[in-house]
């Protein structure tokens, strides 16, 4: 029998999304340790999530500078002694500051954990902020900022958030050179004291660890100085400047474009439906934006739409970089696609492909310890149910073209849009 290559092999739909079991252990008042065991390699990642993001800043750049300064010395170890001690065991100590939190992570082989964890904790509880190290970080950050300000996509992102949320909104807290120059040690020490020493929200341990390792981490955190006793702060006011905004950059061959609006929070009943709609519109390689503007017209290397959720609000936007001479055509096509998804029901086949792809992509994102830890963090951050992912299957499968059209008319309307363009006039 010859092979019928024009007929696709039978395939199975993803029927359930199973989020594996994890432990939740209360370590001390207000601080839980979540432990998710997966994978076969003898590696672990420990994330400490602090209430120390942009929303806690009193001055710009405090959050990112404090995060960077955590590894720069304790009362017992200089910055280079700290680095030497952890590097010797091949461990990585990473800190990053986000909009709503800051995360300090330790990556190491399980066999080295007992050597690494005390150093990691020492850095977090006994950071002394040496002036010399601040000076280095300050000057290097200014150099980095100068390079970023030459990038159209950086400028576009910055102006977009400033126009959509207001220049003073914490999520639009992009630093200027003067902010970096003016930040002083006292600002950072006070930020550290309030938001790190008293601001540990929770921990996530992921990887292939033993019960002994888990117990050791539990004990070490329990006896350390970190607390969760921070006073909550109210949400920031949003003030949007709607319409088109242009930033001139005459030396560029391409223009960066960002078009978007405020959207619904993650806990909203429509949120997961909107995720499916966004996928169809611009969320994957088979999306309408990608098919039309890249694969049919060749106007760009990439174009996406993104639904981004913060604790205080959500933002939905389209982003791309397009050749200056094709810019107007690109913009026309984007708005055409936006009108089309509101005005015509999505075809049955297109919807079927998107549903199957989306469920497959969830299956991929639930694979492996670190990817699972990232998903778990979303569940914790937004106070979602443990069945959040399992429910997706039902929600996605229940969506009809008509139901999605109602969603697009609600959330993809032509009103309240902010458009930012950075490039040649």
């Amino acid at each position: 029998m010859s092979l019928e290559r024009n007929i696709a092999p039978q395939f199975h739909k993803v029927k359930d999304l199973h989020f594996p079991e994890y432990q939740k252990i209360e370590i001390k008042t207000g601080i839980d340790l979540y432990a998710i065991k997966a994978g076969t390699e003898p590696v672990i990642r420990l994330d400490l999530v602090f209430n120390a993001g942009l929303t806690r800043q009193l001055k710009k750049a405090e959050s990112s500078f404090t995060a960077q300064m955590l590894s720069e010395g304790t009362s017992k170890k200089t910055a280079s002694a700290l680095a030497d001690a952890l590097d010797f065991y091949g461990a990585y100590f990473q800190t990053r500051s986000n909009a709503d939190d800051a995360i300090a992570s330790l990556y190491c082989l399980e066999k080295h954990l007992k050597s690494c964890l005390p150093i990691f904790i020492e850095a977090l509880v006994d950071s002394i902020f040496p002036p010399k190290e601040l000076d280095i970080i300050r000057k290097n950050s200014i150099q980095k900022l100068l390079v970023n300000e030459k990038k159209n996509n950086y400028l576009c992102r910055k102006v977009f958030y400033q126009k959509l949320l207001g220049a003073h909104h914490p999520y639009a807290g992009f630093s200027e050179k003067a902010d970096l120059e003016n930040l002083n040690l006292d600002d950072l020490k006070s930020f550290y004291k309030t938001n790190y020493l008293s601001g540990l929200k929770f921990l996530i341990l992921s990887g292939n660890f033993s019960e002994i390792t888990l117990g050791y981490i539990h004990e070490s955190i329990k006896t350390c100085l970190l607390q969760n006793s921070i006073e909550p702060r109210g949400g920031a006011a949003i003030s949007t400047i709607l319409g088109k905004h242009f930033v001139e950059k005459n030396d560029s061959v391409q223009s960066a474009i960002r078009i978007g609006k405020l959207s619904i929070e993650r806990a909203h009943p429509d949120y997961r439906k909107l995720q499916l709609l966004n996928l169809i519109f611009g969320g994957y390689f088979g999306s309408r934006l990608m098919k039309n503007i890249r694969e049919d017209k060749g106007l760009t290397y990439g174009i996406y739409s993104v639904l981004e959720s913060f604790q205080q609000t959500s933002v939905w936007y389209i982003e791309t970089e397009i050749n200056t001479k094709n810019r107007e055509q690109g913009l026309t096509e984007i708005y055409k696609e936006l009108a089309a998804i509101r005005n015509e029901p999505i075809g049955a086949h297109e919807l079927e492909v998107a549903k199957n792809y989306m469920l497959g992509s969830f299956l991929r994102s639930l694979d492996g310890p670190f990817s699972l830890a990232d998903r778990l963090k979303i569940i914790i951050d937004f106070g979602l149910s443990k069945d959040y992912y399992a429910e997706f299957v039902h929600i996605i499968n229940s969506m009809s073209p008509e139901a999605l059209m109602a969603i697009s008319n609600k959330y993809f309307s032509a009103e309240n849009i902010v458009e930012v363009l950075v490039g040649k006039k």
Binding site: R5, V43, Q143, K150, F285, G298, S361, G368
Partner: protein, 412 residues
Amino acid sequence: MINYTKFTLENGLTVIHHADDSTQLCVLNLLYKVGSRDENPDKTGFAHLFEHLMFGGSKNIEEFDTELQTAGGESNAFTSNDITNYYITLPANNIETGFWLESDRMLSLDINQKSLDVQKNVVIEEFKERYLNQPYGDVWLKILPLAYKVHPYNWATIGKNITHIENFELNEVKSFFENYYSPNNAILVVAGNIPLETCKVFCEKWFGSIEKKDTKHSNYQQEPRQMEPRSEHVYNDVPLDLLVKAYHMGGRMDSDYYVCDLLSDILGSGKSARFFNKLVKEKRLFSELDTYISGDADPGLFLIEGKLMKGISFETAENAIKEELEYLKTHLIGETELTKVQNKTETNVRFGDVNVLNRAMKLAFAEFLGNIELVNTEIDEYLKVTPALLQDIAKNMFVENNCSTLYYHAKV
């Protein structure tokens, strides 16, 4: 330990099976032994453009991506100097869809003028987005022709310039496919939650009937030993001066590869590295200073790349780098420092192996290099390195006659 079984189909396709029942996924990684080093110097960027065309549909399948997405899968690809690598991830019970799709585009591609024209435009926009419209984006385009005078590593995979991409014609696409995209010029890795027997059945069913081709690789010359210092000055609208020094080193299978990799860690990896402590923190000459190796199959490059602090001259900055390299040549590295970078390497290997797709790519590339066991033995090669070996290699490599230097000036 990465377990695998290797077998070859009659048409010459090498297959590597790697079972992992802890995942719900399955991966197909198909490596074709063709990269930008196989290109004609007057027609560069072709292997990469071709990679884009592979997603444009094949003889029996109109839309590659749509069919894959329908089965819940995702795919992508990359082109390097040496290889073109395609990969698909699917829910494990749908992996046959991957076999169907990959085998059909190996069998016969369906390329028309429109998809060629569109993908040329997409790649030209990629060229602009990554290399022209970014500060320092063209560093790689400048340093390669300086370091390589004869070998095809002289140009980047994206191509020498946009004109080369604009000029490709449909008949060239077809002959490229006929020559390089053959089962006997490819390595297929099937990894994840799939038993060996199923893997064998699917390989035979979908790839078994594809005919062998008479693949001819281009006969390029190896780079002769560099005998003089080389340098170039570039002036551009960037905020900071950038210094790049590129030294020739061995190829991926040469014994000095592991030594150079560790040297690069000793100098430039992390906050305990020498460059960071001496030149970034202590002397305040650079705001960033990185070292890395190109990792190519043929002899590659050891690169040092740093942004100068405002007000520091190229001369001061470069002399300080040379001083550190001199110190490396004249003072043996201590055991503690060596153990540190070996431990770092072990961490990197273990973390890399967490992901099944990474393991699949690693298997394919090791087989391409000619020793699949490398996936398991490579760590031992790093552990074998001694302080004396590090010093020897540093002495031979870090000499100005072996170096190309790029001075990238910020226009005032």
